[in-house]
């Protein structure tokens, strides 16, 4: 199909899901919410998929149609259709529109396919909400609210998909920001979906506020770009002319206290835009919201942490890549200032999150940190100019991370059913749905710490220490989970192997062969992160699936319904095979046969005219990353696989002591934030603020005494000066009011009372006349008449 026949319809792709959102909200307000809500949502995203895939194929056709020599027709001239939204300025306008280029076509195909799988999965996963919702306060069954909440969930995820699709397809930065914020709103609503849990409410606030910090920078970046280009359209910014305009800009002179600093414009703008990505894609230091976002229902975790929101940040950097690389002079292998920052931050985040993930016990938290780490991979790849590799990893990662999250959802679902099964004589065997915490009748769990690490709550269906032996109980979940893990850890021939290897190969090539320091650092850090990735993922597999069940819950777990395993199998096919679209051409054997279509499609991406050459194939990095992946697998087996039950009971790595506690507690970053940013340890998303947290917080407080002193000074100023002024105003106000009160009481009221009393006194005489006796009145009339007649006569 030709892109020019189907392209004009691309705006329908986000519209279908938006319609689903409207319809479901309509169902809720007219009190018709039912299980149909899920099918409306699936129909919406399904329609989007059915339109997105032909669009993708058409884009593929028109990109390759022009041949390699012309650097891709679609990349030079992306398909753009836009409508003037807000005409302004001399001849400019803010537009709404769509842009189909290789990047957005590939992303939109990925998003719709993954979202469809997630929606189908969620229709079964959220049934607990539908059937067994109980009021959080009274504990009584509340089917009406349950139905509404079930429908509300699908309304939110539909709107979420709308946000991502609109963002990916948008033709300008401002529209992108709008949809970006729609995603932010939906993530707030979905993370806090179980809003009766204080931890979920806190996590939602944390996610919203943290990403908002990044969004401020993003918006500043948009304003700056508008200032430079007089337009926010990608077509104006990312074209050859646009990049030349950027180059022509003189540094921006800033006068600070008499010193004039020349601020280079390009890096400034690039880094401001990158600020948005740091928030959305959870780069250090704004990564803290993402692990807490696990408070949401598991399909949401899959939606946010795999297919959509977090990829949006990476997508943004990829989209704005010409601006990032604009400062690069025309010799290969030079890394510009902003790209240096991007690379360093990405690599640091990758290794930071990977090490934290090693020491987590919550099945979803491990995956969350893994996501942070993998996003670090992508960002670092963009930073060293490995554009194609980054986009490739973005796509493959979406599939296998969605698979892993849905798999963990299936595990949690099974564990919850096992938990209810274990409690005989407990009604219909279903508790209060997911996420409503522990059953009231179970013994309350007292959080306690062993060696600085929170002990397992025996009723927690997400704690890996409570699992084990699930391979036999949940065979399909297990098989697909292993495929996802293998793909993520880079076991050869699976999707993650090819994409991660491409990043590492680029880093190796630039770092070792071209002698670029930052690329070498990135290579070393990412390779280490890859080792940890392999280690913690296989650790998770061994803890969850191997050995004998550690608790009754795990012993009674059973396989989830086909509506849940179906999407798992569907996604695992992609996780296994998707990598073959990006196999290096130089690889002996299959390479030339497959021809690396992905690189040809995306590689000639930018309209700015840059073309990414595929690297000459090199065995060294591929062998190194394979060895690293298997080393991680082996180490995980050595530590956890030999005796999984014992490892669950007492973690062998706990012997690391304080280092282990530090990793488990995420380098105490939440406490640092609590002190420095929010000065409230309760805000950091975990409900169980224990004595340990407080002592950690105190110790850190001594470390950052400067902040403390400053806060104290501020506090003094606040108490004396600001409060003083306020109190003075209050006291003056009180005095004045008192005076007013007296005036009112004695002068105004006095006048009113005077009139009343005077009237009363005057009427006292007349009152005697009114006796109420008719005959006396008549007598008076008579005498009056006589008097009048007499007067008349005389």
């Amino acid at each position: 199909m030709d892109l020019h026949s189907i392209g004009p319809l691309a705006w329908l792709i986000p519209t279908f899901t938006a319609l689903a959102f409207v319809v479901i909200i309509g169902m809720i307000v007219t009190d018709r919410a039912s299980k149909n809500a899920a099918w409306v949502a699936v129909a919406g995203i399904g329609a989007s998929t059915l339109l997105a895939l032909p669009t993708f194929l058409a884009a593929l056709g028109s990109a390759s149609g022009h041949g390699e020599g012309e650097a891709g027709g679609l990349a030079i001239a992306p398909f753009v259709k836009q409508w003037a939204w807000l005409p302004m300025g001399r001849d400019g306008a803010l537009n709404l529109g769509i842009m189909v280029d290789p990047l957005s076509a590939a992303a939109v195909a990925m998003v719709t396919v993954v979202c469809t799988a997630i929606f189908v999965f969620a229709s079964a996963y959220m049934e607990g909400e539908f059937n067994n919702y109980r009021d959080a306060r009274t504990g009584l069954p509340d089917p009406r609210t349950g139905r509404n909440r079930y429908a509300r969930f699908f309304a939110y995820v539909s709107l979420f998909a709308t946000g991502m699709l609109g963002f990916v397809l948008s033709s300008n930065l401002l529209q992108a920001l709008l949809f970006w914020e729609v995603m932010g709103l939906c993530s707030f609503l979905l993370i806090g979906f179980w809003n009766f849990k204080p931890s979920a409410a806190a996590a939602a606030k944390k996610a919203f506020l943290t990403t908002r910090v990044g969004d401020c920078f993003f918006f500043l970046g948009i304003l700056g770009l508008y200032w430079v280009f007089g337009s926010v359209d990608y077509a104006d910014m990312l074209s050859k002319a646009g990049i030349e305009k950027l180059h022509a800009l003189a540094p921006f002179a800033v006068d600070i206290a008499g010193h004039v600093y020349a601020v280079p414009v390009i890096p400034l703008l690039a880094l401001l835009v990158f600020g948005g990505s740091v928030g959305k894609s959870a780069m250090f230091p704004l990564h803290v919201w993402l692990p807490d976002a696990m408070e949401g229902p598991t399909p949401v975790s899959a939606l946010i942490h795999a297919a959509t929101m977090v990829s949006a940040g990476v997508f943004l950097v990829a989209r704005m890549y010409p601006v990032f690389s604009a400062a690069t002079p025309d010799h290969p292998g030079y890394i510009s200032g902003p790209m240096f920052v991007v690379a360093a931050l990405g690599a640091f985040t990758a290794i930071l999150a990977a090490t934290i993930a090693v020491a987590q016990y919550d099945i979803k938290r491990v995956l969350a940190y893994s996501t942070v780490s993998q996003l670090g991979f992508m960002v670092a790849a963009l930073g060293i100019g490995a554009y194609v590799a980054a986009v490739f990893h973005l796509l493959t990662h979406a599939f296998f991370k969605a698979l892993l999250f849905l798999g963990s959802g299936s595990v949690i679902h099974g564990m919850e059913h096992g938990m209810h099964h274990g409690q005989d004589g407990h009604g219909d065997g279903h508790g209060s749905g997911h996420g409503s915490g522990h059953d009231e009748q179970a013994a309350p769990y007292q959080p306690r710490r062993i060696g600085g690490v929170l002990a397992a709550d025996p009723m927690d269906p997400q704690d890996m220490r409570n699992m084990g032996g699930l391979a036999g109980k949940m065979p399909w979940t297990f098989r697909t989970y292993v495929i996802g893990t293998a793909a993520l850890t880079g076991i050869p021939l699976l999707a993650g192997f090819w994409s991660k290897d491409e990043i590492l190969a680029e880093a190796f090539h630039k770092g070792v062969q071209s002698q670029i320091a930052i690329a070498l650092i990135v290579y070393v850090l990412l390779t280490a992160a890859a080792f940890f990735t392999s280690f913690y993922m296989w650790r998770q597999v061994f803890m969850v699936y191997a050995g004998k069940p550690s608790t009754e819950m795990a012993a009674h777990a059973h396989e989830s319904s086909p509506a849940m395993t179906g999407p798992l199998i569907f996604l695992s096919i992609f996780a296994a095979l998707l990598g073959f679209v990006g196999v290096p051409e130089g690889l002996p054997g299959i390479g030339p046969a497959l021809g690396n279509p992905f690189h040809h499609f995306v590689g000639a991406l930018t309209a700015s005219g840059s073309h990414f050459e595929a690297l000459a194939f090199d065995w060294t990095p591929m062998l190194i990353s394979t060895v690293v992946a298997f080393l991680g697998l082996g180490a995980a087996w050595w530590v956890y696989g030999r005796d999984p039950a014992a490892a669950r009971a007492r973690d062998p790595l706990a012997r690391l002591g304080r280092l282990w506690a530090l990793l488990n507690n995420k380098y105490n970053l939440d406490e640092v934030y609590g002190l420095v940013v929010t000065s409230n340890p309760r805000i950091h998303g975990e409900a169980d603020v224990t004595e340990h947290d407080k002592t950690v917080a105190e110790r850190l407080g001594k470390l950052i005494g400067l902040t403390d002193a400053f806060s104290r000074l501020n506090g003094q100023i606040d108490a004396r000066l600001v409060d003083g002024a306020v109190n003075l105003a209050a006291r003056l106000g009180e005095k004045f009011s008192r005076f007013n009160g007296l005036l009112d009481r004695y002068v105004v009221d006095g006048a009113v009372n005077l009139v009343a009393f005077a009237g009363l006194d005057l009427s006292r005489g007349l009152k005697l006349l009114q006796t109420g006796r008719v005959q006396q009145y008549a007598l008076i009339v008579l005498f009056a008449l006589l008097f009048l007649v007499g007067a008349l006569v005389m």
């Binding site: 009152k767 005697l768 009114q770 006796t771 109420g772 006796r773 008719v774 005959q775 008549a778 008579l782």
Partner: protein, 120 residues
């Protein structure tokens, strides 16, 4: 023929009126008061007819019979007054008695001095 002089009629009417006024002002029984009012009305009737007969020019002419009959009919204003007053008195009696009965039902009494609820 020597007619009964006018002032005789007027004396009778004045007597009737005075008796009626006295009754209306002094009697404690509500029915008696009504009767007093009737008396006063009838005194007025007597006056009206008497003045018509003696003072009104048309009546004089009719009595002398030197005028056409049509004028005589037109000149019956004193009698018309009397008829209207009788009708009015009947209506007044009906309403007044109804009120008295209503009062009696609620208070078991005709005693007017007790009915001073509108006292200021």
């Amino acid at each position: 023929m020597a007619m009964i002089p006018l002032w005789w009629y007027l004396m009778v009417a004045a007597g009737l009126f005075t008796i009626g006024l006295y009754g209306a002002l002094v009697r404690k029984n509500a029915v008696s008061v009504l009767m007093g009012i009737e008396l006063m009305l009838n005194a007025v009737n007597v006056n009206a007819v008497a003045f018509w007969r003696y003072v009104s020019p048309t009546a004089k002419a009719a009595a002398g019979a030197d005028r056409p009959v049509g004028d005589f009919v037109v000149g019956m204003d004193g009698q018309v007054f009397a008829v209207v007053v009788i009708a009015l008195a009947a209506a007044e009696a009906a309403v007044g008695l109804a009120m008295v009965i209503a009062l009696y039902r609620s208070r078991r009494s005709f005693n007017l001095p007790q009915m001073d609820q509108l006292q200021g």
